[in-house]
Amino acid sequence: MLTDSTGAQHSRQRDLASETALRGTPETENILQTVTKREKEQAKGMKGDLVFRYLTTCFAFSILAILALMLYEMTGESMPSIRAFGWKFVSSSDWDAVQGVFGALPYLYGSVVSSVLALLLATPLSIGAALFITEIAPARWGTIIAPLVELLAAIPSVIYGLWGVLVMAPWLQSTVQPFLIEHFGFIPLFQGAPYGVSMLAAIFILMIMVVPIITSITREVLLAVPLSQKEAAIALGATRWETIKMAILPYGKSGILGAAILGLGRAIGETMAVTMVIGNAPNISLSLLSPAYTMPSVIANEFAETTSKLHGSALMEIGLILMVVTLIVNGLARLLIWSVSKSANGGAA
């Protein structure tokens, strides 16, 4: 009984309260107004969200559209050359603008040899540098050296080229190449005359240019190796080097490979510095001392003076080949690096 009556009392009080609210005192009017105002603002905000969403979607897709358009356009422009030469374009060494015959083999050869050899020299160097920064140097050193290495990657390539042609090439000509000819001349790689500007100069310049990239990515990959892996090795009585060999490098293997391939992508596409030091002679020579030519270099050197539509189309086809190769190389590299960071995150969960 008692509870019933109190319950009724409560509900009556509630009724009263809602009545007062409905009656519309000035204060409640005000509140109602602000509420509707806020709702309107919210609706407006939602509309803004929607616009923002569509806008950013457009921006994102425009990037993809640019890529697709470029591929389409370049293929179209290359068609005359593709029709005229077919596969001979990549298997022939005749590049004669006057005769209208174009074969890009020397440029392909120059690009592949210079970047692959640069990579072979740069990768061990970069892994060593990254290991020093992450594992061996005191933490404070690491935080100083790592940004400096990344700074190296930001130096415009024309500066590397200028240094290469004014300082390094003369030094190669006067010191390194004569030494190589004298002591290793029996190997075909080091035969011929010392020119300075040469395949060797391009390899060195490219090596210097890709070391910062490979180092900084390898460093990130090594930092992603979980502490538990290092501890596992150390607790088994591994020394520092054994820990690196047993736990750290195997864990980061595919990521380091990815870093190297990313460096390869950079080296293949590098134009300015290579053009300045490689000598720009369309030779296919086993000797690293002789001048050579690369795909980006021939485009940069000849685009301004194309003699015929076919010449322009041939340059465009080189560009197309270069673009497809770099896209594949970069895609592969990203995939490998991604696989490491993914497994590292999975391991932490």
Binding site: A233, A235, L236, G237, A238, P250
Partner: protein
């Protein structure tokens, strides 16, 4: 029973944090000693000082004496690598080497001694996997990747990897806390079996586990060693009020 590991006035600092204070105690040979205490009480820190794992942390400082067979492991000229071969460690989360097969994981540490003839390696793999009761489960797929094993199997593999190095002491840092109850039971049975050959020191935040597997128990609270003694005594008639409060679940 003689004491295998002996701590004397051990203090551990991380930078300005005083994590372990004046701990003195002994760990008898061929027995299991559990270190219990609430999270953050310094039990893992204390455990890791016993094979010099703190050497990796620049801010860590260990003072006092830690004797293994009466030799101070922090003594002048002592090589931490040789200490870690005598004092092995099993971690909270199973951490086999993911790039290696089951087989290679077992001999990973042993291989560090130098060249390992095939036959000898086969023997070590078989005997160590048998001792952790994993042999029957994996003997047909020794060359498959270690990550294909379940969490409990991985942890037993890690224990096999540790005993392959032939340590004298095995430190276990909450070895079963990441495992399901059945795997936990297997690990506990394994500990019981292993103590016939090794001195085992186990950190656990699971008091039932400590009661089940250990012969001796030490209770650590806020970096202080509150009490240590036979497990039976600690869990039935503790001398300190704080120990009693903790094991009866009044805090922690």
């Amino acid at each position: 029973m003689s004491n295998k590991v002996h701590l004397e006035e051990v203090n551990i600092h991380f930078g300005k944090t005083h994590a372990v204070r004046d701990v003195s105690m002994s760990f008898p040979e061929n027995s299991v000693t559990a270190i219990i205490g609430p999270s953050g009480c310094g039990k893992s820190t204390l455990l890791r000082s016993m094979n010099r794992m703190h050497d990796l942390v620049p801010s860590a400082r260990v003072t006092g004496k830690i004797l293994v067979d009466n030799g101070d492991i922090y003594g002048r000229g002592v090589d931490p690598v040789s200490i870690r071969r005598r004092v092995g460690m099993v971690f909270q989360k199973p951490n086999p080497f993911p790039a290696m097969s089951i087989y290679d994981n077992v001999v990973a540490g042993y291989k560090l001694n130098g060249r390992l003839p095939r036959e000898e390696a086969n023997e070590i793999v078989e005997s160590c996997l048998k001792r952790v009761a994993l042999w029957d489960e994996v003997k047909d797929r020794l060359k498959t990747n270690a990550m294909t094993l379940s969490g409990g199997q991985q942890q037993r593999l890690c224990i096999a990897r540790t005993i392959a190095v032939k340590p004298e002491v095995i430190l276990m840092d909450e070895p079963a806390s990441a495992l399901d109850p059945i795997s936990t039971l297997k690990i506990e049975e394994l500990i019981e079996e292993l103590k016939t050959r090794y001195t085992i020191i186990i950190v656990t935040h699971n008091m039932q586990q400590a009661a089940r597997v250990s012969d001796y128990t030490a209770f650590l609270y806020m970096g202080d060693l509150v009490e240590c003694g036979e497990t039976k005594k600690i869990f039935t008639t503790p001398e300190q009020k704080r120990t009693e409060d903790y094991i009866t679940g009044r805090f922690g």
